[in-house]
């Protein structure tokens, strides 16, 4: 059996360690594997490792490797391969974009042929999550072969051919350690236009298309939706004149009819964020929090109490990068205008937007971002948005920053979980952000496809089946 998959962009390279590139991941996730894997529900399980790692000390994690695994070119997978893979990713000369995930890793050393110790620069409780992202390469091929266009991994699929611009074909790896996958051949096609992807699906050319818009769920033969990694949120500038007032910030949160937006904008394919913008699947998510209610009257009252009726605020955002980003921004701006704020919407060009989001200038009153959490650990949100020194942070709450710093190095799982819960409660009470939705990823499929997509947005062909 063979299927055709339409993805939004062609891999820029097949080197699995250099780029942070959606197209590359969609392909390489099937060719390469990491030491750890996740179940479709998000639970970390052993991958190329034989078991979950063991923490030897604050800075060292030990992985036992699966025995008898070979690369597609026949080379054995062993500790040397792991050491080489780690060394290659973190080599500054390679300037890997994936360093965002692996910044804490100091190195790896082989203990024996099937045991590896990975060391970190500081205590890093989420190292296992990080290792889920690190694809293991074959050192010999990486050194001498053309790794950028010839992929050699351990995964269930092997690269058959790649005609750049046209298509990329994977075939099943009959020798896969986990057993040969069901689908024999998968052809990727690269279609950037959502409309064109959709028409290909409807014309029967594609079996799977990514990033389907919610509206089209009624039009396609079959689809599957799953809670994704992205959470949309407005980061509020707490040092600004208007938004510095906690009453105003609360009003901002209460003014939005999130349910209406879910129903109309997302046709139900989104969850209202539960009081924070941490991904619900992530470690550290505070389940105790509840989502903000829609209470415009209370919002108006709060504004009145703060004496901020008609106060000017500027809402900053961009357009076209995330699902329905502009729609969300404009809808929210409209809600805020409704409770009596004088809202200016500023949709910025992306580089300008980046500067607004992460630059050193004054913080915007409210800036939109769809935050993505690939490591599924609350640390990402904590250090990026909540921590006062975070790149996208808009508060100057030193107390909270200290709490985050403490949690980051806490290796006791229970304690860490509790600390994160506390931080979230704190931020929730002070309305530092206006969390909106946990977005769902929707995939369009042909009728013969059977597949439950994963919440980490990985497109694993081995998990698909074709009914015929």
């Amino acid at each position: 059996q063979s299927i055709a998959i339409a993805i939004g962009s062609e891999p820029s390279t097949l080197d699995p360690q250099l780029r942070d590139d959606g197209g590359e991941r969609m392909v390489n996730d099937n060719i390469y594997e990491a030491l750890l894997a996740r179940t479709p529900e998000g639970e970390l399980v052993p991958g190329l490792a034989a078991a979950l790692p063991e923490q030897l000390d604050a800075l060292t994690w030990q992985f036992k490797l699966r025995d008898g695994v070979t690369f597609h070119n026949g080379a054995p997978f062993n500790a040397a391969a792991v050491v080489a893979s780690v060394a290659r990713v973190i080599d500054p000369a390679n300037n890997s974009e994936q360093m965002a995930y692996f910044g804490t890793i100091a190195g790896a050393e082989a203990v024996d042929d099937l045991t590896v110790n990975i060391t970190t620069t500081g205590p890093d409780p989420i190292l296992p999550s990080r290792m889920y992202w690190m694809k293991m390469i074959e050192p010999g091929h990486a050194a001498t072969g053309d790794i950028a266009s010839e992929a050699v991994g351990t995964g269930p699929y092997k690269l058959q051919s790649w005609s750049r611009g046209t298509d990329l074909v994977l075939v099943a790896n009959a020798d896969y350690w986990g057993g040969a996958p069901e689908i024999d051949e998968a052809t990727y096609r690269f279609v950037a236009e959502p409309g064109t992807r959709l028409s290909g699906l409807m014309a029967g050319e594609f079996d799977v298309v990514t990033a389907l818009m919610p509206e089209f769920t009624s039009a396609v033969p079959k689809f599957a939706a799953v809670a994704g990694l992205e959470t949309s949120v407005f980061v509020v500038g707490t040092d600004n004149e208007v938004t510095g007032n906690p009453l105003v910030r609360e009003a901002l949160n209460l003014a939005i009819d999130r349910q209406a937006m879910v129903d109309s904008l997302f046709m139900g394919y989104a969850q209202i964020a539960k009081g924070s913008h941490i991904n619900p699947a992530a470690f550290g998510f505070n389940t105790a929090l509840d989502s903000y209610p829609y209470d415009p009257d209370r919002a108006r009252a709060l504004l009145a109490e703060a004496g901020m009726e008609g106060a000017p605020i500027t809402v900053v955002g961009e357009s076209g990068r995330w699902l329905k980003d502009r729609e969300q921004i404009e809808a929210v701006a409209a809600y805020w205008a409704e409770i009596g704020l004088n809202v200016t919407t500023d949709i910025q060009e992306f580089s300008v937007y980046l500067d607004s989001l992460m630059g050193s200038g004054p913080r915007p009153d409210a800036i939109f971002i769809a935050n993505s959490n690939e490591l599924l650990d609350a640390d990402r949100e904590m250090s990026f948005i909540y921590h006062m020194d975070g790149a996208a942070a808009s508060n100057s709450d030193a107390e909270m920053a200290a709490m985050i710093d403490a949690a980051r190095v806490e290796t006791d799982v229970e304690k860490r979980q509790a600390m994160y819960g506390e931080i979230q409660q704190h931020a929730h009470d002070l309305n530092y952000t206006v969390p909106l939705f946990n977005l769902q990823d929707i995939y369009g499929m042909s009728t013969r496809m059977e597949w439950q997509p994963r919440s980490d947005a990985k497109l694993i062909i081995a998990e698909m089946t074709v009914s015929e």
Binding site: R19, A100, S163, G165, M202, A391
Partner: protein
Amino acid sequence: MLDFILRRLLQGVLVVFGVTTAVFLATRTFGDPVALMLPLSATAEQRAAFAAQLGLDQPLPTQFARFCWDILTLNFGDSTWQRRAAVDVVFERLPFSLMLISAGLGVAIILSVPLGAIAALRPGGVVDRLTTSVGLLGLAMPQFWVGLMAIMVFAVWLKWLPTSGAGSVWHLVLPAATMALAPLARFTMMVRANMIEELNKPYVKTARAKGLSLPRILRIHTLRNILVPFISIAGWEFITALSGYTVVIETVFAWPGLGNTAVQAIKRGDLFLMQAIVFIIAGLIVVISILLDIIAKSVDPRIELN
């Protein structure tokens, strides 16, 4: 002849250099390349390291000197997006663009000549009015609209042709047809107008006085005479298409041409790729216009190359 080619090539080199320099100045003086090229979450150290690696931290004149040297040695650096030599990326996509353009313009050329000629034979007649109206309509429809509609009709409903992508001749049909539409209209009208003008020339009277039939005059006499303006229009159309005006079609049909790559390069702030694209396309344009002049000369012996 050789003298002409040499002179034009030299001129061309200057033009190409001017064009590429314009890109250099535009990208270095107005924007921050580093911010564009690195991911959202990159740290300040990463940014600085990256800038240093690309030589972007040097003062502008130094950068420019390095840039000039690179151009001279035809070294455009690595595409930051694809992590390989920028020229490789360009030469990989260029054939797709050329294929699309040639197919589209080829169709337009082949169809427009008879259509325009027939229209010119009876100006104001049924064929004339029909071609003119259809032509004007063809000119009025935005390409992306035509493309989307074509996909709907021919690929989704009728399932005659693939919706998108490249790979076989069939993949080429819809994009090429969409691409052909506007040039077809322009060519047809141009052939018609020039044909009418040509038919008014004294030598046509001579030909008629010689007892030649109108179709024969058209075929033997006037057709050749409209060839020169036709070549220049077709060449112009080719150049325009090459300079990226196919990008809309490429987007709609997911055609892996250079236009799309250029958009990506711009969106991702891939300076080196951008420079390579501009350089190579400008060079191609120069070469093509020289070729056009030579072809025109071979058709019309009166033309002097200078």
